[in-house]
């Protein structure tokens, strides 16, 4: 499983540096956060790097909102009306413009537009089909990845998952780009139904022999390795680590307001504010929060014995630390067999639980980015997947 970068606000330099440092990587570009010129320039920069690749998320989730930053792109329709859009020239124009932009950017695959579903309806399915069929008709000359953008309620309904997979069987795409709203706008999800269904959906699509990407992901999404998902995509700020549809609604609040710097403790899948590291130093457990080497020098200094908050860890550094360690975890998650992957994941959760419990016993908490509350949801999702798809995953693991 790979980690793709989910492009978001302020990620231009991060993308270039990380793809270079990693010796390659895939960035899912965000038209909302990049002007047409920036899109082209960044795509060019990334592809000039060894193994640098890009994908374009058209972010056609809420076309009615006509978000001003999306509307500046050539593919965005001048007027969007549900009644006529899918039966006439507007759909053809949207797809042809998107194909043109994908050609210009040199994307590896074509991520199809997909409406954000707050209800699971036949109408929504018919728009999904329309996007797919029109793209096929026009010949995008690259793999077609269907976007599945759904609300937390849609994801929580088991029947919807079966119907989504059934739809994918009837109208097969080459891959799927799943973006799923978190329940109650939580960063780390404690709802085991949601987590089980997301994993079930990913596994069901993967078993169809397709390429599966889970977008807007964070450390909790490492569980996708159990479904042998091809990639999860994550970024810097929370709004690219958890799908927030409001980001694509022009009426929503703009940009990032929280200046807090968080330190990612990879072994605990948890993040802590820098002042919390000061407390950890005082109570003698700071070292428990350290990450396996190598770490960025600025991050390594946090554990030198000097009061962490006096070292002025910058936000960009904390982001790179997060993404670098998340990538290491992501790429190391899938094992040779399904059972080995399950065992490795359970061992990781056990270690997380022990570590975080010990830290909490010392009053060291990462709320709301402390993984302790999320462990149960992930364990239950694992149990459900194991019971329902374990046999088939075990048999087909080597060929997925």
């Amino acid at each position: 499983m790979e980690l793709y970068l989910q492009f978001g606000y302020g990620m231009m330099e991060h993308s270039r540096v990380l793809v270079q440092d990693w010796g390659g990587g895939n960035v899912i570009l965000s038209p909302r956060d990049l002007s047409p010129v920036q899109l082209a320039n960044l795509a060019g920069d990334l592809q000039a790097l060894p193994e640098g690749e890009v994908l374009l998320d058209p972010q056609f989730y809420l076309p009615h909102s006509n978000h001003s930053k999306l509307a500046r792109h050539a593919y965005w329709p001048n007027g969007y009306s549900t009644g006529t859009f899918y039966s006439g020239p507007p759909l053809r124009t949207l797809i042809s413009e998107l194909i043109s932009i994908n050609n210009t950017l040199g994307t590896r695959a074509f991520i199809l537009p997909g409406l954000y579903a707050t209800d699971f309806t036949e109408q929504w399915l018919s728009t999904q089909r329309a996007f797919l069929e029109e793209s096929r008709r026009q010949g995008a000359e690259r793999p077609l990845y269907q976007t599945i953008a759904i609300s937390s309620d849609v994801c929580r309904n088991n029947e919807n998952i079966g119907r989504l997979i059934g739809f994918a069987e009837s109208y097969p795409a080459d891959g799927y780009y799943i973006v799923c709203e978190h329940p109650r706008e939580a960063y780390l999800v404690t709802d085991s139904t949601w987590m089980s269904n997301l994993l079930d959906l990913a596994a069901g699509l993967k078993l169809l022999g397709t390429h599966v990407i889970i977008g807007y992901a964070n450390q909790q999404t490492l569980i996708a390795a159990l479904a042998k998902v091809d990639a999860i995509a994550s970024g810097t700020w929370m709004n690219v680590r958890a799908f927030a549809p409001g980001k694509f609604d022009d009426n929503s609040d703009e940009e990032i307001r929280a200046p807090t710097t968080w330190y990612y403790c990879a072994p605990g899948l948890s993040e802590y504010k820098i002042p919390t590291l000061d407390t950890a130093l005082r109570v003698g457990v700071l070292n428990d929060l350290s990450c396996p080497a190598p770490v960025l020098p600025e991050v390594g200094r946090l554990f030198s014995g000097v009061q962490p908050s006096t070292l002025g860890l910058s936000q960009p550094t904390s982001f790179r630390h997060y993404l670098d360690h998340l990538r290491r975890q992501t790429t190391g998650m899938v094992q040779n067999t399904f059972d080995d992957t399950v065992e490795a994941y359970e061992t990781m959760l056990d270690n997380v639980e022990n570590l975080v419990t010990n830290l909490r016993a010392h009053r060291i908490r990462g709320n709301p980015r402390d993984f302790s509350e999320a462990v149960a949801a992930n364990r239950e999702a694992l149990a459900a997947l194991y019971a329902t798809r374990g046999g088939i995953l075990r048999r087909r693991w080597g060929n997925l």
Binding site: I165, G166, L208
Partner: protein, 282 residues
Amino acid sequence: MLAYIAQKFPELTNISPLDQGGFKYVLSVSHPTDGENVLKIIDPSSAPERIDREILASQVVQSPRVPRLLETGTVDLPFGECVWIREQKISGTSLRTHLSLNGPLAPSGTLQLTQQALEALADAEKVKIVHRDVKPENIMFDQEGNFWLLDFGIARHLAMPALTQTGAAVQCTPGYAPPEQFQNLRDEIDARSDLFALGVTIYEAATGKHPFRDGATSPPEIFHRTVIQAVPPLVLPLQQSESFRDLIGALVGKRRDLRPRTVAEALEWVNEIIAAESLGEH
């Protein structure tokens, strides 16, 4: 009645009743060239479309594990014009009778049942036929120890329109039909529906226990259990015990997408298990 039938079918001899149920009279007969056969006479009060479907299914499913349809026609009987079907006779007993008389199958027999029933269903899948009523009553165990799939009476051809509407009452056997079938979600019924019924049949044949019917007092209760209750893992003393457990566990997935995608895939799976078992013996 037998004399009347003998009169209508002068070329047939040794006519004797085998079974009567639903809309069918099933007779054992001898044909001068085809030897011992089964003659099915279908009551004219049954829906003609269904008769056509059964005949069509029997004609198009070409399988060494499904009795061959030899001839069909109509005949005037005292209760009206009836469709008749003459087909290959399998000498043996139904799996239901065999289980009642002998108890659960041995592990090797369970493997053979799984393989041969999947062969029959895979041949049906090739021509888009869904049997929709796989159960021990519709599987024959012949004198050579082979299993045959019988009775495509409620089969559906996936390329043809359904005879019932979504939500309408549907023919199925409680305890074997998967949720999508007894809920009559006709767009979701495909060959994987048969995989579910076969998985339950195999579990019952191997253990003598029915995961949904035992202790249930009514069809609604059986349907409810089918939805909410898991089939326990089937662990047999085989070298490939885990893989076989996984296969049966996959067949009885509550949703069709939790089962093998095709019967062919399930057949390939059991063939791998049998091959590995055979290797282990040497």
